[in-house]
Symmetry: C2
Subunit: 764 residues, 2 copies
């Protein structure tokens, strides 16, 4: 019956995006908009004593200056999480629209609204700020130390949160004789999402309500946050999300929408636009948490894991944003991926004077996989054991059930993924080939697996609504609160809706833009939840619409509805297969009938109380130039079991993008800070070494399609997983090539220089 | 229980419209749009033999030239009627996007699309058209004569349609001895709507579909017409309607949306804007039908009507547009308003070489009332009977039921309206005062009543859908396909929704703009149907939403849903009146519940199979300067029984606007044509004497609120009625003042000069 799902349909937005017709936020902003520019703090920590706005206010074109001394005193959270009515599950409220207590170099101090950009920037430059400077701290563990500068008043010791997992009895287990102890510290960097389109939004007021058009992943959540930040009933806020040029989690936060919404209220409801520069995007949006992880494993000589200890220190930066969820998700993966009877895990999210860390593709899993999968190879090195064999022996077994999420591993997915990967890069053969190399240039292969949990249940609410509207020609519009952010979900949804209702792909018109006034509630694009979660409401709403259609077909044909089917846009009598009418004929009659006029639509909410594991692996092959301290990536393959593929071509593209991100994470990307001032050093795309196609080998993506039984379409997450296992695979390849176990990423020449020196491979 | 309906709430759009924040079509058009300008025919009738586009195509900035020789051969209808799947009830398809056979001075011959307006206009001027000229005809009865020029190929004799009503036996009735025969011919002019905002639209293509943003009253109908005109499935078309600056029926037609939609397909989907000048609006949009009516009445000396004959010749102009419906509605009023046993009615819609006549406020009733109510005073003149007494004696009696519409007169509404009117202008006292005047300046009072049928059932489909979406704060959005066109229906709907659901007025956020992709189906603003028809779906959908809310309240409170009520945004236990929670608390919990998350919305279609009479009257008091042939309107009152008033202040404003239109109709407005060329002579607001506040006395509006029992809110039509009885009241006042029975409107000095001369009141 299924005809659309599983086919590599051309993206529904392909032509418009290629031809430049697709409209993004800035395209939609009227040219009459006032322009807002932000003054950012030029110290890493301190108190604004005064802001002299007089010179700025004299500049022609400057309409309004708002400083941190003016803004309303509503602390608000920014994380793009579904809300909870339980205060214990609400996100931390630790910022105002502008902050008098500045907590990082780049914090928001004041804003100038002007008739044009030039006047706004002149206004910002004309502001004179007097600071009282405080000592600052950039490192998470240093921030935990006694006497460290206090970043947030309400969090002594700078600890935003600390959580633990305990299983078995570690102390008792360690009494077993003959255990081999392997210990490592692993560091991952602060990186930025580097989506193409910087965050931009514009706001205005109509009928006493505020409308914000914004480049966001989460329009319905932003509506709530704007209401919270301005102390307004949430229904007074309307958020519109057009096409966006990527987000990768940075736009899973309320960024400047609350400020922009506030500004329009200060200029009589006039249109105000706030557009981030790339420099602002790097520093004053969100970054990925730098996490330092400490792992100790006690293993038997045969590779059996007896006990493990895990500690992670997550650098939260100045504001809570997504907060502890990120490192906690990473820690959650640890005891599941390699189950072990005796485990002690602890993780801390720690405020520092860095930019606020938020959501980023993978949400703690890239950090956890880097630490965990490097550590597995470190164990293998200690044991002299083959890393593939070790993994096959210790990875989560078929039938494994997690007690908290109730997720189950239904298939022998890890072995299948590893087998598929080796069809591209024969890991074992190459490992043999690359043994015992000498000389300055050496090769290696490395392997890493990953674990990823689809969506956020049971930690948070999972629900999704959608609406379908039948047109006279038998085509239909589809609306949902879940959002297209470049990942292709509009196309996947179109396929899913086509099959759910029984119409051709071409007859589904997805309403891409979300408008919280009219779009069914959905929390947006994050947690790789779109096809899994959206699938529930699509299949449910499609059923409701089919039922209404077939009941109407009964009216028109006198056939019992149960004997009728809707196939490929036609009403078919099941008994003899006869096409009784087209859906277009039915829809036209239904709308215009003078006896029984019906506008055939359907809308429903699906609440999702299940979840699904997503798994896969990466194999990387590298060539390391030891004297040059340079790693060249020769080959890379990612294999994913994300359940059924809705659209294989899009899935492959999704994986390619994630692999690129993983390559940058492994080899080149890091946002650096000046230790003396806390100032960001490379907040631009020239100095920040974003991975590009110039850095990629041919990227190979493969899939294992074990249909996820809990999922309406058999799918599970694919959006974030491709970014999770690449970096440790590269690191493990470097380890094979050189014997040097690098303890951090990105593995830049600077890092390798130090590591190779220490290992005696090179000398000063 | 009702708290909002019946109150004079401030318009929901008042502040935005007053402050200039409200967005109209042109405000929303991106400045990068290509500009389309139309070449209109400069002859009244003929054939385009060739169009030389070469010079135009050389002009820098000209992107595309399309002529009547290029356009697709899909004939399409333009009338803003609901569609019918029965071909016999479909509107006439008699035009292409551009017409080679040009049928009036101003017909659409070619269009130039250019980068800016200057290039587009230069391009239009550079087009060279060669015509074969045909004879033309401007008068409807002349067009029916043998040998008249044929305007439309498929309609020999130029008769678009002819319908009749027969009741009783006229011939037999006339055998009664002693009957007095009164005969008259009455002429009404071609007038134009003169809404503030000229028609403007812009179109572009995304994802293979065409979006047209347009100043229209009928977005869902325009979607269908664009599909028909371009030969596209209707689902490939999306229409968006922002605020519009008036329509009065002109925008109850697909005007240039089909052409604009076609143009974007010819320039690769680029944005194309087409904006009418005022001159184009006058001639190349739609006008009101000029109708000539012939009435003969046979009455007894005591004023009893024995038999009547009615003939109306409706000047359709060059294209069918709304066609025969207009004059047919007028004819339908005739035997109902003054029921009589023996009636013969005939009406003809006749193609001529004038601009196409379409819908305009009143839809045939102003013409019919002018003829009919002038004729009543002519009868009274013949009988020497008081016009008020004659009307009280002969008007439709309480309990009257129309066999076709099943409408019933439930109340003694005519007498009540007349009584209310006389509280403002004491007709009978003044009639006495103004008897036997001599001298050059004389005064008179005149009276006229009207009949108006709400909405279009049973002639056409009547259905309406709406959707309500509950927000977390207990406010809600309301969407409907029926449209705000300046008349205030957004505000009336807000009041109706507030009461239907049980929330404060302030908590209803009406989604003013219609977008056919997401707005529930509704046919739009016409036939004074908005509150009557919309009320059905509002009350039905409000009930559905209440039910969902109270069921959810049951979940939260464990009180049986039947014991709960929703009052003023609060969940109340009926037994003891205790407020259990606010709707906002319920809505927040419902959305974010981790056990039972529900996005509470409701949507439904109501099909309406009833209809309601709307009645009223006007009294006018005039002073006529006989030597100057000038009428000064001294006082005017309109009284309406439109059922329950949703918003008294808005109702009064509605009536004031209609009275202004009636004053123009009675005294000054007429679009004139040059008899030798067919060229319009006064297609601009300088030469066309639109009625303005300078021409008005104090306008008095009064109401009789007989709740309409078929209506969910007790309402019936008020939008068009105020324009229906003013002109004949003025004419009858002139008749009393001067004894001269003018047979046409507007009653300009030129007309009076001829009439007074004929009556011997003045000499050359």
């Amino acid at each position: 019956m299924s005809t659309s799902v599983g086919q590599s349909k051309v993206r529904v937005d392909a032509y418009d995006k290629a031809a430049g017709r697709a409209k993004y936020t800035d395209d939609l902003c009227d040219k009459s908009a006032l322009i807002a520019k932000i003054l950012h703090s030029t110290i890493a920590h301190g108190l604004v004593k005064s802001v002299d706005t007089s010179a700025a206010e004299q500049i022609p074109g400057v309409v309004k200056v708002i400083t941190c001394l003016d803004v309303p005193n509503y602390k608000f959270p920014t994380a793009g999480h579904p809300w909870s009515t339980d205060p214990a599950h609400q996100d931390v409220e630790d910022r105002l629209l502008l902050n008098r207590h500045v907590r990082y170099y780049g914090d928001d101090v004041a804003v100038v609204v002007a008739e044009d950009e030039v006047a706004a920037m002149q206004g910002v430059r004309a502001l004179k700020v007097e600071y009282e400077e405080y000592p600052f701290v950039l490192d998470a563990q240093e921030a935990m130390a006694e006497g460290a500068p206090q970043v947030q008043e309400d969090f002594p010791g700078n600890i935003l949160a600390h959580t633990s997992i305990r299983r078995g009895d570690l102390e008792k287990a360690l009494q077993e004789p003959g255990l081999i102890k392997v210990e490592g510290w692993y560091d991952t960097p602060t990186v930025q999402h580097c989506h193409i389109e910087n965050h931009v939004c514009f706001a205005s007021m109509e009928a006493g309500r505020i409308t914000v058009v914004t480049s966001t992943q989460i329009p319905h959540i932003v509506r709530r946050v704007v209401g919270q930040a301005l102390g307004l009933p949430w229904g007074k806020v309307r958020i519109v999300k057009p096409y966006i040029g990527g987000g990768f989690g940075n736009k899973q936060d309320a960024l400047y929408e609350p400020l922009c919404a506030y500004l329009t209220t200060q200029v009589g409801g006039r249109l105000v636009k706030l557009e981030c520069t790339r420099e602002e995007t790097f520093v004053s949006n969100r970054v990925r948490h730098a996490i330092r992880t400490h792992i100790i494993s006690w293993v038997r000589p045969d590779g059996a894991i007896v006990a493990r200890k895990f500690e992670a220190f997550s650098n939260q930066g100045a504001y809570a944003s997504h907060g502890h969820g990120v490192v906690a998700k990473g820690m959650g993966a640890f005891p599941q991926l390699y189950p072990c009877d005796n485990v002690e895990c602890d993780c801390w999210s720690v405020y520092t004077n860095r930019p606020a860390a938020g959501a980023m593709r993978g949400y703690g899993i890239p950090q956890a996989m880097f630490a965990g999968e490097c550590h597995i190879d470190d164990i293998c090195l200690s044991l002299g054991m083959d890393p593939l064999e070790f993994r096959r022996k210790n990875l989560m077994p078929v039938g494994y059930v997690d007690g908290f999420s109730k997720n189950e591993l239904y298939d022998d997915t890890f072995n299948q993924c590893l087998d598929r990967a080796m069809e591209v890069i024969d890991y074992q053969q190459k490992r043999k080939d690359y043994q015992n190399q000498t000389g300055p240039v050496r090769r290696g292969v490395g392997l890493a697996v990953f674990w990823y949990n689809t969506a956020v249940w049971p930690i948070s609410l999972e629900s999704s609504s959608c609406r379908m509207v039948l047109n006279q020609d038998g085509s239909l519009q589809f609306q949902t609160g879940e959002t297209e952010i470049g990942q292709g979900c509009d196309t996947a949804y179109t396929q899913m809706v086509a099959d759910a209702v029984g119409v051709p792909f071409e007859d589904v018109h997805v309403v891409s833009s979300q408008d919280t006034d009219v779009t069914p509630f959905g929390t947006g694009a994050y947690a790789s939840r779109q096809t899994y979660i959206g699938g529930f409401s699509i299949i449910q709403t499609g059923r409701l619409l089919r039922e209404r259609i077939l009941n109407y077909a009964h009216e028109l044909t006198r056939m019992p509805a149960a004997t009728l089917d809707l196939v490929d846009g036609k009403i078919v009598r099941k008994g003899d297969g006869r096409v009784l009418m087209t859906l277009g004929e039915l829809a036209t009659e239904a709308l215009y009938s003078t006896t029984n006029s019906q506008h055939l639509t359907a809308e429903s909410t699906a609440q999702i109380k299940s979840n699904a594991y997503s798994f896969g692996c990466s194999i990387a092959e590298v060539e390391v130039d030891i004297p040059m301290c340079k790693v060249k990536l020769l080959n890379m393959v990612n294999v994913h079991d994300c359940g059924r593929l809705i659209n294989p071509a899009l899935a492959e593209a999704q994986v390619h993008g994630g692999m690129s991100m993983a390559i940058g994470y492994g080899l080149s990307e890091e946002l650096k800070f000046d230790a003396r001032t806390g100032k960001p050093l490379n907040n631009n795309l020239l100095d920040y070494k974003l991975s590009t196609c110039m850095d990629h080998p041919n990227l190979e993506a493969r899939f294992v399609e074990n249909l996820e039984p809990t999922s309406p379409y058999g799918t599970k997450s694919l959006g974030e997983p491709p970014a999770c296992s690449g970096a440790p695979a590269i690191r493990n390849a470097v380890l094979q090539a050189t014997g040097v176990a690098v303890d951090r990423c990105p593995i830049t020449p600077h890092i390798l220089f130090e590591a190779f020196k220490e290992a005696g491979l090179i000398t000063d």
